[in-house]
Amino acid sequence: MSQAVVEPEAAPARQMDLLRFATAGSVDDGKSTLIGRLLFDTKSLFSDQLEAVEAVSAARGDEYTNLALLTDGLRAEREQGITIDVAYRYFATPRRKFIIADTPGHIQYTRNMVTGASTADLALILVDARKGLVEQSRRHAFLTSLLRVPHLVLCVNKMDLVGWDKAVYDKIADEFTSFAAKLDITDLTIIPVSALEGDNIATRSEKSPWYEGPSLLHHLEHVHIASDRNLVDVRFPVQYVIRPQSTTVTDYRGYAGQVASGVLKPGDDVLVLPSGLTSKIAAIDTADGPVDEAFPPMSVTVRLTDEIDISRGDMICRPHNAPAVAQDVEAMICWMDETAPLRVGTKYTIKHTTRTARAVVRGLQYRLDVNTLHRDEGAPELGLNEIGRVRLRTTIPLLADEYRRNRTTGGFILIDESTNRTVGAGMIIEAS
């Protein structure tokens, strides 16, 4: 290449991993201040961003620099002083890169919390130490467990305003722990903090000698997420078939996809669904060359030893460990559409792994009150932000696992066939 192009020299690859977390809480809980603090303490907040926020804060007559404005990016949000949508934020430490899905906590935004939690390794819930647990805290904890977010952190914020009183913290921690025990929450950490003053955020504070746990950042950096992946059940949804039309590469037929779970190796016996045909893995290719094994979340291309007919939407798994091939599906569905409710008898497009089908709602068993967990079995429909247990029948079989066992092969979305909007998020309980 010419002078206009510079080839970089080799640099060592940085060995950081990636943690995605969702935050939930309202402005009053100090969530934006907490995020602002995390960004600030990890030097991820830029001076021009801070200046912009200071200028807007001053123009609005705020008494202090309102860090909420950092995340409230849209004009409508600033004008109305509310947060509409999930905002994504990024910061990194030498150990980890973090992606924050910052979701507004208000009741009508269950949709956003569910969206943010769907990809999260960890959920962070805030409560105001002066107010203790509120309805919203319980709702957020429930959604965390419904979406099977593997780790939960409760930050008891504004401890400075209760004089770092251990009794206040203990009461909230006890109450939350007993509530969480009723839910399917596997890992819970509770941290007393002051987001405003930075206590127990990046480093442990001297103001809470009675607290023996980690600072928030230390916990985020060290929480063990590698084992959260399912490395047991081989699930490889075929995304795209690669067949080069080329004179140099002939007879190549590779199945491209991202490993949903399990570990694939050349030589492994595989079962292809829904056809039920079996074969062996001949090779696992990447653009950087073949690999000895593939595991989540790697995007690879699998070649098999036999020429069998495989296309997008098929699933490569193991002969003795396969998902259900199912047209009848029971699932918890969170409804996300404000224009029309979910009703029995309605047909939708269903997208599950790389497979798209049509589905009809056969039954609504109950609607769940996300605050009291009460089941309303007489509910006729699910409206926006409502959650219920639903029975679906699909036109073609889904290759499905229970959501609690596999978040990738257990989750689906429903799409309205006339508006093309994404109207529902489903978590499979049973497929047959």
Partner: protein
Amino acid sequence: MSQTKPYRVSHLDALEAESIFVMREVMAEFERPVLLFSGGKDSIVMLRLAEKAFAPARVPFPVMHVDTGHNFPEVLEYRDSRVAELGLNLVIASVQEAIDSGTVRELPDGTRNRIQTPVLLAAVEKYRFDALFGGARRDEEKARAKERMFSFRDEFGQWDPKNQRPELWSLYNGRHHPGESIRVFPLSNWTELDVWHYIAKEQIPLPSIYYAHEREVVERAGMFYAVNEFIVPKAGETVETRMVRYRTVGDASQTAAVLSEADTVDKVIDEVAATRITERGATRGDDKVSEAAMEDRKREGYF
């Protein structure tokens, strides 16, 4: 099964896997995808990911450059050599041609960022593109932080921030009616630093202006603009020769350089890691027009 292996995945590998997944989804579900390629570093990284996503096959879609006519020669040269190397079809949507034919009008201040939008939309209509890959990242700007990986656009190319499709797990909804399209941002979750680490890891060549070099510049509102056919010093401005590099590459009349000694990828990484100002804040005159400049442009159909 043996659980002794850690099965580690670095953050860059995870980001790469996600971007490749997104590109394959688009190829599988759309009829006429196109990748926006300007010769800027983000689009260069995106093209590399496309190359990797479909190997050993060729990149299965064309690339498009929305050309304002205000270019850095090094960048155009890079664009053409990369396109030739990969055997791609390059579509050029030319703002200059649109001005010459009278379909858009030059703005009084001579800037062309805003009039790029109708030219882009005309090309989308002409070639009936239904999915457009863009290299935008969510860390760049506040409006972008709330945009989806798959961003639905109506038949006017407009973004409606209040009416976005929820995006759950890795299930992307690309369904659309004829005339509508989806903007796809495979680098949504990458930061400027991630892009540079990836350039280093993959040893991706870049146009030379991304690395420190001596250049004649004038200082305007704290930013350093290269003196060239588009930037002519005004009365009272002093032309100085400084060591600079470009953090972003956009319209040559609007993009400023930063003072820098970073002439290798490692030095750039160190510099980016230490910098206290965002790349668009440091280099883009066009984003400073109003607090919601980017949001407004996106609503009009801009990337």
